[in-house]
Symmetry: C2
Subunit: 466 residues, 2 copies
């Protein structure tokens, strides 16, 4: 269902130099690997992403294969993870393995985790370096949102007995290798690789050359466990000023270093995920470069259960057909009550989600939320109810209609903010993603109650309304 | 309208050691400054936040004043910015100034920017160090989401002519002062403070002691301008592996260093803001510790315009009262059509917002979105329309009713995803916050069109429906 590259060009008219994909498509068609690599290397990360998002799936694979491992790795690092993993899966395992070797271990790990087990296994089997394959396999076994999944394995470590002179000599010899590592802190290890201390480059610089690193290191340093979860890591970094923390396994052996930037980035991605899910994008990120069928099915997987929930809510209306028959104006106000209550509830959901993230409330603190939202819901319900009630009364010149509509909105606003405040806490306690369940559940409940209140009140005073 | 501290305890039953605010309130009541500071210093950042969110505004100020500048600064750094700024505003300017002096410059700047001009001016006037006051004033003039607002001013710099030996000696002498600075990179400046190069600690360590820093530095280093905006900075960090970049003013003078972590953090905060605004929390973050009236008014400022938009949409229903009178079942389906179209549209909004963030589409690329959403909208509309139409037909045993409901949902789904995909691009081009305007605008449009389609179709085939 995806359209060929030639059609895209017609659909997307060129806009000055805003169209890097035209240059990419042109060089890809010419099949000149060198010219292609030179062109792609000059593009910014953003332009690489834009260009590859415009190619069809087959063209993207061909471009990556043609680029050669170095440039290909550079591009894949900047593409959305799902897209990069899809491309690698489609390549020959041997070609993909050459690219994986060029990527930093944490990026390779993320991509391997994104693939099916069969594909990632095939690629790992093709790696020249059996030790690297083993390491990547071990890394890929970690939860991507744990210290093990976020850590970098490129760190610099020394034995306790080494002298400052030896360490400085090592830096001199390996200047090239260490170029992309954070050497501000290096680590001091025991005989079995156990983390013993942290060595600050600053301290190395200001110490005698004959001093032993074991004597100038910071002993018993702050560290995290490889299994520690993202939220835990986030808290740890909040309580310290360090830019990185060493991650050790259960035996105390140093396995990697988690950087503050990696944690912030993962946390940001997490917030974006929440936003996406709350907006009805489930099953992972959606990009318009994905196959049409995937996009349709994923969106429908959110929409079709929603139809069922909507019908459940609307069945309340069906029970009161005769009341609506008598007072047709009610049909005008039902969608308003539904939408307004949904908005009020969503505000309370957002505040609860934020307070949960900041750790200001714990899942069990229902009473605090009830109290804080109750007072607010009462006040806002009164304001909104009086407003809509007045409009209803003026429109039909019937005070009773105003009272019914206003009263129902008032009560339903109170109910919506109470439920909206509580549902995320409840979902969290039940270990369900609050963003996934809060919205539809809340809307169904508040719709049902809203319809019920309007129509019961109206039925009770039907004589006054007609 | 906020309740006193004693009431909170009753509302929030203690849960094991989950209640740091009880300890805080107890020590605050005793008025023992030392015991209070000792207690607070032991709490994690999260527990400090939780404890202070439970105190009333007056108690919070009293606690901060009692803590002394050091511990107080430590706490304020962990509180949500708006809360910390509120507390500082209420304190005596001299007391607030003592606390400001203990905070890192970037944190003080954020807090001063959050306050009213009068309060921040009074506090700056009370600072002992006139030079520091001037620097903070200059920093606070920067946009908080620019390099100037995000940078740290604690960097280490040397003149070109300095030797490696002199630099290392400086590190030795100032080890204490530099303890909380990033010394992995120091900067080399010209006579007027212009950025000339970057000095890697690694290179210092491996160079001869007599070498001049001007010879071992990396000349013409990557840098950003103090006025560069967050999105620009985000892109710059994407294209490099550096953990920090120097920020220079228009004259090329080094003003500070922007860290990758600061940019990631600001970017994360930005996504969270979007989420909040899309959920109807406008005018800044809402926390349940804020005064009740502020919370009510802010939420109403989103809800009351929403009533107007809802009435506009519902007025379409009012025009077709006679049709509904004849086919009362339509009243049951109107809220369903409204909700389902809103959901479909929001999915498209979320995808467009994500693609804008990643730079995969530019605000002008309407045709690409129209094409990509059009095909999807057609397919999803067909699936949902057939589903709901079948249910309607079966319920009332009337095929025509099914055709009207199904057809309307089909068309309106197509319309919703097209509009949902386009509205964020349009808002961006009009320089309106896409998160703020997309939701309500979209819902109103799709509601109106949905109601219109159902009721026009129904009116057209009215004979077959009754």
């Amino acid at each position: 269902m995806d359209e060929p590259a030639s059609e895209i060009e017609a659909v997307d008219p060129p806009e000055g130099d805003n169209t890097p994909w035209l240059g990419l498509a042109e060089r890809l068609e010419a099949g000149d690997a060198e010219a292609l690599a030179a062109f792609v290397d000059e593009l910014s990360a953003e332009d690489q992403r834009r260009a590859f998002s415009r190619l069809g799936a087959a063209e993207g694979e061909r471009a990556i294969a043609l680029l050669g491992p170095g440039s290909a790795a550079h591009v894949l690092e900047h593409l959305p993870e799902s897209q990069a993993a899809d491309i690698l899966e489609e390549l020959e395992p041997a070609v993909a393995a050459d690219i994986i070797e060029q990527l930093p271990a944490d990026v390779s790990t993320d991509l391997l985790q994104e693939m099916g087990d069969e594909d990632s296994g095939a690629i790992l089997g093709e790696l020249d370096d059996a030790e690297e394959a083993e390491e990547l396999r071990a890394l890929a076994a970690h939860d991507p949102e744990s210290a093990g999944g976020l850590m970098s394995t490129s760190f610099v470590a020394f034995r306790e007995g080494a002298t400052v002179a030896e360490v400085l000599e090592d830096f001199r010899e390996n200047a090239e290798t260490y170029a992309d590592r954070d050497v501000q802190y290096s680590y001091v290890l025991g005989p079995g690789g156990e983390l013993r201390g942290v060595l600050r480059l600053r301290d190395l610089v200001i110490s005698r050359r004959s001093a032993k690193v074991g004597d100038i290191m910071i002993p018993e340093p702050l560290h995290v466990g490889v299994g520690d979860a993202l939220t835990e890591l986030h808290k740890r970094f909040e309580d310290t000023r360090f830019l990185g923390l060493p991650a050790v396994d259960e035996a105390g052996v140093l396995r990697g270093v988690v950087s503050r930037a990696a944690v912030e980035e993962a946390q940001a991605e997490y917030s974006v995920d929440d936003f996406r899910v709350a907006a009805g994008i489930v099953g992972g990120e959606e990009l318009r470069s994905m196959p049409m069928l995937t996009r349709c099915v994923r969106r429908l997987s959110w929409l079709t259960p929603n139809i069922a929930l909507n019908i459940a809510a609307a069945s309340v209306i069906a029970m009161y057909e005769s009341t609506i028959q008598s007072v047709i104006a009610l049909a005008v106000f039902l969608p308003i009550i539904s939408d307004m209550s949904g908005c009020s509830g969503n505000q309370a959901v957002a505040v609860s989600m934020r307070e949960l993230t900041l750790g200001l409330i714990r899942p069990g603190e229902y009473l605090r939320v009830l109290w804080k939202e109750g007072v607010l819901g009462f006040f806002n319900g009164a304001v909104l109810g009086i407003l809509l009630g007045t409009i209803a009364a003026l429109w039909k010149g019937n005070l009773w209609l105003g009272a019914v509509i206003g009263g129902a909105l008032m009560l339903n606003t109170l109910l919506s903010v109470l439920l909206g405040g509580l549902v995320p806490l409840l979902m969290k306690r039940l270990k369900v993603d609050p963003a996934l369940a809060s919205g539809p559940l809340l809307t169904t409940c508040t719709d049902m109650c809203g319809f019920f209140m309007v129509l019961t009140l109206a039925t009770a005073v039907l004589d006054r309304l007609v």
